[in-house]
Amino acid sequence: MAVPILKQGPVLIASIQTALTDTDVLQLREDVMGQVTRHRSRGIIVDVTALDVMDSFVSRSLRGIAHMTRLRGAETVIVGIQPEVAFAMVQLGMKFEDVQTALDLEEGLALLRDQLKEPLTGAG
């Protein structure tokens, strides 16, 4: 199932709804990169609230997305990692050390707003 990507001013919001197959993850990467280029976005929020497991492929790919978008001048924030998922990831050594994380969508938007030093609403 494809992940919907919403545009909110200079920010893209990708909200993952169900467990992702490997193909879905690769598709998400394609879509995000395409939209970042098209909309000249400054920030991306990937919401994983709905995921109650996150395998190594998904987390590696999310980290990849964060690195790639940074090369296009956009900062990625992963939001909504569940407590069980967070601890499992750390135990498996997937620490997202160079990726920003936030509690939920609201926090992620606030984080990007502080970093971009500009209001996130409006024409963008």
Partner: protein
């Protein structure tokens, strides 16, 4: 003894064993006072049950002696089991150890066996048969008492562990988006896991941005628990909260560095006050002193 006693007889000599046990019981009843005193004397000689007074030892000894004879008579350990459980409940809080309990039962077994030797010394064959009847029953009694004592002690330990677990890790909110976890007592693997779980849930429930974990009350930490703490810090970061650890004692700090635990990712502050100040700084709070205090208090 009109009804058939429930004696465990494994061979064909059931009738004979019963007869011998009956004789044995009447011998023990007849010499009750003397044997009981002998036993109590041996207990204090061996310095067992030092937590109890002489009178207490003597009254417990009387009860045990009577239950003991009762078991030999009826072959049923149920009454003794109840008594042993009751006894354990009373003496465990006073610090009586397993070896003491086993010790007194074995002493009684010894005292009674000696009195049998004395009584039947002229007839070696009969003595042998009496011992055949006596020893299995005596062993079973020793087993029952020791088993009940250990079982009772384990029950107490389980109960206490449960109690400790329940009050072990409170997660407190001190300001909007600031949580404090004061940890008191030894952190073992299980408690550390529980702490992580409660902390991560607390972060989500309270929408926390900063968490102060205060381990002033933790005497020692091993490398497993330390690594677990580091993992907790990293997991909290994945949920968007930063963790400040306060109150690492100098002993713990030395141990952790010697063990080579990598704490470079952990934000540590000396004491709880400093930790809260640091957290307020991270959250953008600025605390200023009001001017309502009387001037001498400033």
């Amino acid at each position: 003894m009109a009804d058939t006693p429930d004696v465990t007889a494994t061979d064909g000599h059931g009738e004979a064993t019963e007869g011998l046990l009956r004789e044995l019981v009447s011998h023990l009843r007849a010499n009750r006072t003397q044997l009981r005193e002998e036993w109590a004397r041996r207990i204090s000689e061996a310095r067992l049950l030092t937590a109890l007074t002489q009178e207490e030892i003597f009254s417990e000894a009387t009860s045990i002696y009577d239950s003991y004879v009762g078991v030999l008579e009826t072959g049923s350990v149920e009454a003794l089991q109840d008594y042993a459980r009751n006894l354990s409940e009373r003496i465990i809080p006073r610090g009586v150890e397993v070896d003491e309990v086993v010790g007194i039962v074995l002493l009684l077994r010894d005292v009674l066996a000696r009195s049998l030797f004395e009584k039947y010394q002229s007839d070696f064959d009969l003595l042998n048969r009496v011992l055949d009847a006596y020893e299995p029953a005596a062993n079973r009694i020793a087993n029952t008492v020791a088993g009940n004592f250990v079982g009772e002690r384990e029950r107490v330990i389980r109960q206490q562990q449960e109690a400790i677990r329940e009050l072990s890790t409170p997660v407190l909110q001190v300001r909007e988006r600031l949580l404090i976890l004061p940890i008191i007592g030894v952190l073992d693997g299980q408690r550390a896991r529980q702490l992580t779980e409660q902390l991560l849930r607390g972060i989500r429930a309270n929408r926390a941005k900063v968490v102060v974990i205060d381990i002033t009350g933790v005497p020692t930490i091993d490398s497993t628990v330390a690594n677990h703490l580091v993992q907790t810090v990293e997991a909290s970061r994945l949920m968007g909260a930063s963790v400040i650890i306060t109150g690492l004692s100098s002993d713990i700090a030395q141990t952790l560095v010697t063990l080579g635990v990598d704490l470079s990712k952990v934000n540590a502050v000396g004491d709880l006050q400093g930790g809260i100040e640091e957290a307020e700084r991270l959250l953008g709070y600025e605390v200023t002193q009001g001017d309502y205090l009387p001037s001498e208090a400033r």
